[in-house]
């Protein structure tokens, strides 16, 4: 993105089946938002305090609880729990009503990171070696399982504060979200396993919708709204907004894997080493001349261990050569504009608040972050 240029709310094209509602073309007022980092810190700290209670060390610490607490202790953006708390507050609930659900989201997110790192053979996470690199696959896998199961506890405890009905509905939503995540991860792993190369942006978006968006944005938004309203209202608007925001987030995440500096905290070019079907790689598969495409397919066919630095460097050069990074950036900006439009539909009728502004400015933040 050109520094200083605002992302503009983009209504869906006429061909889209989404209801055509006139949306104000309001530019994002803060291209570099001070509000988003401040609220991520505030709600992140609130979530961590709750998380610590649920991750209180027991025995066997050395083989389980220390491992389960490792990734959460390394920090993280805390975007997911913050989004949940902000959505609840934007609708009039208190932060205390939402912080248990926010903690559950963060626990499950960290559990899935442990498993993802094993599945992807990743080496670094948040600036340190991955959990399985330190403790071995078996113990890391078990710690991930424990973290995922422990994330149910705050959702059950919601009964005390939110009542049975709302707590059960949030659990139902969480169940749906978990299934979507697993399906999305299966798509990504399956494509790599079977070396599927006939993919387009729609395939990528469907995978991202399931793998990333449900946990990162859709569930936090829906749960937040549910906590506050408790009424049977349609939450589909949050699915659309959450999808567009989450897909923007994922594309930017994939871009950072190729272009970010050491602050990124993950393995540089790790996605290329792993043969992940990112938007850039899918674009390259579609744009490369037949001979290059054949070579690319052959590189992707072999397991990660058999891929050499020369292979990864060649893929990286092809991505530059075919303008795939610019293509993905443009794609992310388009989705961010559409996300701003959908934000207006999901949150527009609510009174102005710090939380509402935070959610809106998050759209710009996800494409600006480095």
């Amino acid at each position: 993105m050109v520094p200083g240029s605002p992302i503009v709310a983009a209504p869906p094209p006429a061909a889209a089946t989404a209801p055509q509602i006139a949306a104000p073309h309001v530019t994002s007022p803060h291209v570099t938002s001070p509000l988003v980092p401040a609220m991520l810190r505030e709600y992140g700290a609130m979530t961590r305090a709750t998380l610590d209670r649920y991750l209180a060390a027991g025995e066997p610490r050395r083989y389980l609880y220390d491992l389960a607490a490792d990734y959460p202790a390394r920090g993280g953006k805390m975007m997911r729990p913050s989004l949940c708390i902000a959505a609840a507050r934007a609708f009039g609930a208190s932060a205390a009503d939402a912080v248990g659900t926010a903690a559950a989201i963060e626990m499950l997110h960290n559990a899935l990171l442990v498993h993802d790192d094993i599945e992807d053979g990743s080496e670094a996470r948040r600036g340190r070696p991955t959990l399985h690199a330190i403790h071995g696959v078996a113990l890391a896998l078990n710690a991930g399982d424990a973290l995922a199961l422990m994330s149910l506890r705050p959702l059950v405890d919601n009964r005390d504060r939110l009542g049975d009905r709302t707590a059960l509905r949030i659990l139902e939503e969480a169940g749906r979200m978990a299934v979507e995540c697993a399906e999305g991860q299966a798509l990504e792993l399956g494509w790599r396993d079977a070396n599927v190369t006939a993919l387009g942006p729609a395939n990528y978006l469907e995978m991202v919708l399931k793998k990333t968006c449900w946990l990162a944005t859709i569930f936090p938004l829906r749960a937040g709204a549910l906590i506050a309203t408790r009424a049977p209202i349609s939450h589909d608007a949050f699915v659309r907004f959450g999808f567009l925001l989450g897909a923007t987030f994922q594309i930017q995440d994939d871009l950072l894997n190729l272009v970010a500096d050491e602050r990124y905290g993950k393995e540089r070019d790790g996605d290329l080493w792993e043969g992940k079907r990112t938007l850039m790689l899918i674009r390259l598969l579609g744009q490369a001349p037949p001979a290059d495409r054949e070579r690319l397919t052959a590189i992707l066919r072999v397991p990660r261990e058999a891929r050499g630095p020369g292979d990864v460097a060649w893929m990286r050069a092809q991505i530059d050569r075919h303008g795939c990074i610019g293509y993905a950036r443009r794609y992310a900006h388009g989705l961010a504009g559409a996300a701003l439009h959908e934000f207006g539909r999901a949150f527009g009728p609510l009174p102005d608040s710090r939380d509402k502004r935070f959610i809106r400015e998050l759209v710009t933040w996800v494409v600006e972050r480095t």
Partner: protein, 267 residues
């Protein structure tokens, strides 16, 4: 047009909708910068306007519009799939009022009979309701009887159990405080069947049947600054005519009515 000559509007410059909002994403002339790190040696690309002589902005517009259209197709199909899963799960019944297309919860396993699945789920839900209501009641009842041996304590135990039973917080959440500022007697009635939180609802100005009476406009649902409670706040000016004023409580998102407020203002 007495001379028979017909005026003719000039043909438009374009033959399709103008979707050039993406130009606003970057300063004019910075298209190259915004398209990232494509090297000068990059081969011809159908999306690369300079390669095929097209107007770069026009091509970029169409490309971005196509990208967004793809995204909407994906999410719309996802929502439709959720709706279909909900209908399958309900065995052909319409989705319940709490179901929306995406949140239709679980997909029915392909091998499961939908009606059986729905029956089992209903049974589980019924069991959970029974459990959540009866266990605290029964526990407190036994505790009360064994502690005092007096049957008269049953009512007290029942009351305590009801207030502590899971779900009681739902009832607490539904409690709404009412603040009335008026120098004259005012009877305020709020009829709100479902639990509600201030941020989700709005209240239309309360009107009297008599058209000459001004509406009561200072009526709002707000969130208490200290305790987060939902408060119905009514302010009535000293000169407002007496009478009965009514208005709707409306869901901000859907626009659907959720309840009513009425104020009977005395002399």
């Amino acid at each position: 047009m007495s001379d028979g000559q017909r005026y003719r509007r000039a043909d438009p410059d374009r033959d399709g909708p103008l979707r050039n909002w993406s130009k606003m994403m970057r300063p004019s002339g910075s298209a190259a910068a915004s398209t990232g790190s494509a090297t000068p040696s990059a081969p011809a690309d159908p999306h690369d306007a300079s390669a095929n002589g097209a107007d770069p902005d026009h091509v970029a517009d169409d490309t971005v519009a196509g990208d967004i259209a793809t995204a909407y197709r994906v999410i719309d199909e996802h929502l439709r799939a959720g709706q279909r899963a909900a209908e399958d799960r309900a065995g052909g019944r319409a989705a319940g009022p709490s179901s929306d297309a995406a949140g239709a919860a679980w997909k029915a396993p392909a091998t499961a009979a939908p009606i059986a699945a729905a029956g089992l789920e209903d049974l589980i839900a019924q069991g959970m309701r029974f459990y959540s209501i009866m266990v605290p009641l029964w526990t407190d009842f036994i505790a009360a009887v064994t502690a005092s041996g007096a049957a008269g304590d049953f009512a007290g135990a029942l009351g305590r159990a009801m207030s502590q039973a899971p779900g009681a917080s739902d009832r607490r959440a539904a409690a709404i405080a009412i603040e009335v500022t008026s120098c004259r007697p005012a009877e305020v009635t709020l009829d709100l069947p479902a639990p509600a939180i201030a941020g989700a609802l709005t209240i239309a100005p309360l009107r009297a049947l008599e058209p000459d009476r001004p509406p009561l406009a200072e009526v709002a649902l707000v969130v208490g600054a200290t305790d987060g409670r939902t408060i119905l706040r009514v302010r009535i000016s000293d000169t407002h005519p007496p009478g009965l004023y009514t208005g709707l409580v409306v869901d901000r998102l859907s626009g659907e009515p959720r309840g009513t407020v009425s104020v009977r203002l005395g002399q």
